[in-house]
C-alpha cells in the first residue's frame, strides 16, 4: 500500500490519517474535505485517480495543516518518528514538509525499523531536508524540477534559494547537474527530473528522457510536478521497476496535460481529471511495445 505524507495549506487542519478518496473535485480523508489546488492535495488527488484507474488500493494519507510556520510539520514529523516503525507500507512518499534536518533524521531512524523496507520517495521540502542531512542515498527516488536539481548539484547550498549562479538552472546543464548531484552524494538511487524534457537518471547516468507530448503552458501550471510525483508513486507501489515507472508516469502526466489543452492560467484540477485516460493509454502502449 502507498502512504502519502505531507501538509495541507490551512492553519487549523488537524493531524489526520486514512484512506484518500475523490469527491466532487475534492480529496477526502476521513471526514475532511480538501480542495485540490497544488502541493500535497494535488499529489494525493493524482495518486488517488491513478490508483483507481489501475485498480489499486486507494493511497493512505498522513496529513497536517501548515502554512509555513512549521508547527504542523513538526507535529507530523513527531508522529512519524513515533509510529512509522510498526507500519507495513510498500511505498512511502514524503512531500511538502518544513525542511528540518533533525526531524528528518528521527524519521529516517524510524524507517530503518520497517521490515521489509518500503520504497522511499522524497519530493519538495522533505527532499530538501534529505539532501541537507547527507542521507540522500537512503531514498529510492527524488523528483526534483530544474531549480531543485541545481540545489542537489550544489554541495554547499542549504536550500534552492542559495543554489549558486555558476550552476545556472538551465535545461542544457541538466546532465552536468545530475552528475554533480551524484558526485556529492546528494541524489537518491533514481532521479526523475521534471522539466521541458523529463530525465530518468541514476548514478550511472541518464537512462531515459521523455519529451512528448509537449504542452509549453504546463510549466506555468502550479501542481503539475506534484501530479507527476503522485502518479509515479502509484506505479512504484504496483511493483513496477522504478525507472520504468518514472518514464511511464512522465508520459502519462504529459498526456493528461495535452488532454486538458492548458493555458498558463489553467489550474491543476483540470489536468488531474484526465490522468486515468492518459495512464491507461500509456500502459497499454507499453504493453504493445513489448
Amino acid at each position: 500500500m502507498l502512504k502519502i505524507v505531507g501538509t495541507v495549506p490551512e492553519t487549523d487542519f488537524p493531524l489526520v490519517s486514512g484512506e484518500a478518496a475523490l469527491e466532487n473535485g475534492f480529496v477526502t480523508v476521513g471526514n475532511k474535505r480538501i480542495p485540490v489546488n497544488r502541493g500535497t492535495p494535488a499529489l494525493l488527488a493524482a495518486a488517488t485517480c491513478a490508483a483507481k484507474a489501475l485498480d489499486r488500493p486507494a493511497p493512505f494519507a498522513h496529513l497536517v495543516g501548515d502554512t509555513g510556520l512549521g508547527h504542523g510539520s513538526r507535529r507530523l514529523y513527531a508522529d512519524l518518528a513515533e509510529n512509522l516503525g510498526g507500519s507495513d507500507f510498500g511505498t512511502i512518499i514524503f512531500h511538502y514538509l518544513q525542511p528540518d534536518v533533525d526531524w528528518h533524521n528521527r524519521v529516517l531512524f524510524a524507517l530503518e525499523k520497517i521490515n521489509p523496507r518500503p520504497a522511499l520517495i522524497a519530493d519538495a521540502g522533505f527532499m530538501y531536508a534529505a539532501k541537507m542531512s547527507g542521507q540522500a542515498k537512503a531514498y529510492d527516488l527524488f523528483t526534483p524540477d530544474i531549480g531543485e536539481l541545481a540545489f542537489l548539484a550544489d554541495k554547499d547550498a542549504p536550500h534552492p534559494f542559495y543554489a549558486r549562479g555558476f550552476i545556472l538552472h538551465r535545461e542544457e546543464r541538466v546532465l552536468d547537474m545530475i552528475q554533480r548531484a551524484y558526485k556529492h552524494g546528494n541524489a537518491a538511487g533514481c532521479l526523475l527530473v521534471k522539466g521541458e524534457r523529463d530525465y530518468v537518471a541514476g548514478p550511472d547516468g541518464v537512462h531515459e528522457t521523455v519529451d512528448g507530448p509537449v504542452e509549453e503552458a504546463m510549466e506555468a501550471v502550479g501542481g503539475t510536478g506534484d501530479t507527476l510525483s503522485g502518479i509515479v508513486s502509484v506505479l512504484i507501489d504496483s511493483s513496477m521497476d522504478i525507472r520504468q515507472a518514472c518514464a511511464a508516469a512522465a508520459r502519462a502526466n504529459r498526456l493528461a496535460g495535452r488532454y486538458a489543452r492548458p493555458t498558463p492560467a489553467t489550474q491543476v484540477g483540470e489536468i488531474i481529471r484526465h490522468i486515468p485516460r492518459a495512464l491507461n493509454e500509456v500502459l497499454v502502449q507499453k504493453t504493445l511495445d513489448f
Binding site: Y128, P264, A265
Partner: protein, 186 residues
C-alpha cells in the same frame, strides 16, 4: 596506536546522524551592526519562542560585530519580519554551512504571449499581461508555497498581498523576488 592513512582515505559509509547531534545544515547566521542590536534581537526572537542561540561569527563573515545569532534558516522570511517589527533588522542573513553564499539573483523570464512567467530559484509566478492578474504560482517545496499560491492566484499584482507580508520561508522569499520582478516587468 597508529592512524592508518588508507583507513582515512577509505570512503565512510554514511549512517543517519543521531537526532540532535549538532547538524547545522538548516541553520543560518544573523549578522548585526553592534552587540546591543544582537541582544535586542535575541530578546525579541526568544520572546516569540524561536530556536536561536548567540555565538561568535565564523571567519568568513567580515561585517558586523563579534556576535551573531544562529537561527532556523528555512524560516528566514518570518524571522526577518519579526525583527523588522522589533526595529532591529540585521545587516545580513547567511547560511551557517557556507556564509559566503548569497541568495539567487538571476531571473528567468518566459514569454507566453498574453502571459509572462518569472522564475527566481525554485519559484515561478505567472501573470496575465493585460489584466496584471496572477494566474499561477508553481515550484517550491516549503509548506507556505501552496498557501501563498492560494492567497495570490486570481488577484492583480497590486491587490495581492506580497510573499514578504504573508510568507514565512526561503521559498516564500524566492517567490517575493519573482513577484517584484513581475511587478517591474508588467
Amino acid at each position: 596506536m597508529t592512524l592508518s592513512l588508507l583507513g582515512l582515505l577509505k570512503p565512510r559509509e554514511r549512517k543517519p546522524e543521531r537526532p540532535g547531534s549538532g547538524l547545522n545544515q538548516d541553520r543560518g547566521f544573523l549578522v548585526f551592526e553592534n552587540t546591543s542590536e544582537v541582544i535586542r534581537a535575541e530578546s525579541a526572537l526568544k520572546a516569540k519562542g524561536w530556536r536561536i542561540r548567540v555565538m561568535g561569527p565564523p571567519s568568513e563573515i567580515q561585517r558586523g560585530c563579534d556576535l551573531v545569532i544562529e537561527f532556523p534558516l528555512i524560516e528566514e522570511l518570518d524571522i526577518l519580519r519579526e525583527l523588522l517589527a522589533a526595529g532591529v533588522s540585521p545587516l545580513q542573513a547567511v547560511p551557517v554551512t557556507s556564509p559566503l553564499l548569497s541568495p539567487v539573483n538571476l531571473f528567468q523570464v518566459k514569454d507566453f504571449g498574453p502571459y509572462l512567467m518569472v522564475r527566481a530559484a525554485n519559484m515561478k509566478l505567472t501573470v496575465e499581461r493585460a489584466t496584471r492578474i496572477i494566474v499561477n504560482v508553481s515550484g517550491g517545496g516549503c509548506p507556505d508555497v501552496p498557501y501563498l499560491a492560494g492567497e495570490m492566484t486570481g488577484k492583480t499584482l497590486d491587490a495581492a498581498e506580497s510573499p514578504r507580508e504573508i510568507g514565512h520561508t526561503l521559498c516564500g522569499y524566492a517567490l517575493q523576488l519573482a513577484f517584484e520582478e513581475a511587478v517591474r516587468r508588467c
